[in-house]
Symmetry: C2
Subunit: 100 residues, 2 copies
């Protein structure tokens, strides 16, 4: 399992638009082949901070996400709403060992 | 869904012991009532950094984890292996809406 945690800080005035756009991205992303998780998380201490938890079965499936129309649309749409540059941190998933 | 991402930095010489202890914690944690995910992740850029991705159905299930024998055993066992204090960041899960 390959995981990217994307850390996002959104401008307060675009919070609801960001959530709407990201929910749509989630809906399409979980249908990608090889997607295991695409969790959309809102920071409890600072609701303008989010984490996107994106898990794929392998490197190819993870890379393919960045060429999907829904990702490219989301990326362009949310760009002006960012309060800080997004930061993605990559991990190797040690557990669980399988989809189960 | 309530999510805690626990960020861990481990002393190089205790890396393998940490992974072994954390795999055991994972095995018990995913069997807790209300647990949705307990992913063990190793940072690609710095393999001594880990993230534990702990998702529960609700606040009560999340809180109950901290009273389980496997969590308390893990916490005591790994304490001397930490290179930095652990940091847990709490999130409200917006998506997915259900376990499915």
């Amino acid at each position: 399992m390959i995981v990217t945690i994307v850390h996002v800080k959104v401008k307060q005035e675009h919070l609801h638009e960001f959530i709407r756009a990201t929910v749509i991205n989630h809906e399409y992303s979980v249908k990608e082949p090889g997607n295991l998780r695409f969790d959309v998380l809102q920071n409890e201490g600072d609701p303008t901070r989010f984490a996107l938890y994106e898990a794929y079965e392998n490197e190819a499936a993870s890379a393919a996400h960045k060429n999907t129309p829904h990702y490219l649309t989301w990326k362009e749409m949310v760009a002006p709403w960012m309060a800080e540059p997004r930061e993605g941190v990559r991990y190797q998933g040690l557990m669980p060992l399988s989809r189960a």
